[in-house]
Amino acid sequence: MNIDKRLVRKDSLEKLFDILKQNSKAIYAPLSKNGKTTFGNAVAFETISDGYVQTTQSAKDIAFPRVDGMSVRGIDLNEIPEVVLWGVRPCDATGIGELSSIFNWDYKDEIYNNRLSKVTVFGFSCSKADDYCFCTSVGGNPGNTAGSDILFTQFGEGGDYLAEILTERGEKIVGLAPALFENSETDDKEKFLANVPVKFNHNEIREKLDKFFESKEWIEQSLRCLGCGACAYVCPTCACFDIQDEAHGKNGSRIRCWDSCGFSHFTLHTSGHNPRDVQSARWRQRIMHKFSYMPERLEVFGCTGCGRCSRACPVDMNILENLISIQEVTV
């Protein structure tokens, strides 16, 4: 299929923002607080951050919020607002596909799917990267179109944007503001993209992991891991949750809350036995799940190379460094 490529002038973005608002769309965009940039409800165009390499948290909570109700009545589609996810990096847009594959592996998760059905993704290509980025090592790239409904690529700093209209949802947005999507004379975006060198071969890692379960490398890598959930909670593809029943007087509610395989009690059985009783077993699970189990069962890798887990880790557990050392260690 030929992708419809348009020119969106720099000044048109604000107009587009206003038109989307007029059409009752909530806009979730990167906002800054306490020196961190993360997705939130943008009330005005000027509150949207730019210049960030990556947001602290991924955009996954738009379809998989950290706390979500699990009503037996199901979820009322009318209660979910139409949302435009604005400023999503290609690694996050890809992550939505990976997350969806988990939520539709066997059981089709109605709550997740309904929430996602209301989301239009505005991807923004990366013009810069940092040392934690490794999208190109896991099959992505800084201008990857996967997962976006429209992908914007800026023609250099301060320049206009190339808009690639990738889906029907994207076309609907163009339909709301056709004048802002002008004919583009050029569609060459490559030279404006960040340079992210390939650091490892993910297929080689996957093959190696088949024989790596008992390796001492896991212990060496994870001794400094403190067992918090920061890596899982900022990850665009971590999907684990814990179901809780909360009592409020005579009423109660069933909710699901994010959970993390890094926590010591994540696999604690009611008998008191814990099959993953040390941090190295939990760290191994994290890597195996993303680079071995997910490709085997879902035919996708559970990592988009966004590098968030490494940036968020309080003790410098750097996933890229650890993957490279797995590739280098002889089994």
Binding site: L226, C228, Q244, C257, W258, H265, A312, P314, V315, D316
Partner: protein, 266 residues
Amino acid sequence: MDELIKRAKDLLESSVVKVVIGYEEGTGNKTRALFVENAEDAGKLIFDSRCVQNLAAYITKKEVKEKGKMAIAATLPVMRSIIQLASEYQVNDSNLIVLGITPESKFIEFANLVEVETFVHKYQIEIDARNKEMLVKLEKMTQAERWKFWVDELTPCFKCYACRAACPMCYCHRCTVDFNQPQWVPVASTELGNLEWHLMRAIHLTGRCIDCDACYNACPLSIPINLLTKKMLEDAKEHFGGYQPSLKGDHLMSTYKPDDKENFIQ
């Protein structure tokens, strides 16, 4: 830190300790914890102003403890944590050697924890000017303003518990927030659930928190949760004469009975 490296090497070569905990060069201009088990790796140890993680958090970690007797590169906050941990029977002279680093970045050797305590007591725990100013600002707010401040700050918390994990004093085998039958504190990271968690944490740490900022430094969202423990430190000073960790175990705000029939306290 040649002296630190030399001492670490000696301790490992002579098998006095099984592991030396210190800092090494990390990624992205960060430093991180290093666990040296072989004397030839001692050269990887570094120390500079970037080394602020409170390494005392590893003393009570199961996998580290299991290695045997340890030595630890300890800055003043780490030494304070060690004294507090010792007063809570989590560590003693038979399982730990302290390789001190003074606030002037000088290596200092201690024969035992009593000497560490004497050194620690030379310095008062002082809240830094920037945070002190923030505490004054909070104090001047009306109750409603202060409530709004904390709701705004704490609502984004997604309960990754990095603050708990990074804190040397949060070593409970099973934290109250991890119980769900019965559930004492809401698991959900909602406005109420977050407030309950952070207030509980601050109160549990009063008279134990040595003001190292490990919780704040660990927070991936940079939520200023250390203001809560700093405020408790100030209040403890005002009402109870101040806090200084002590081997005597004259705990400022807590009490215990050795014959307590509950077995969750270890």
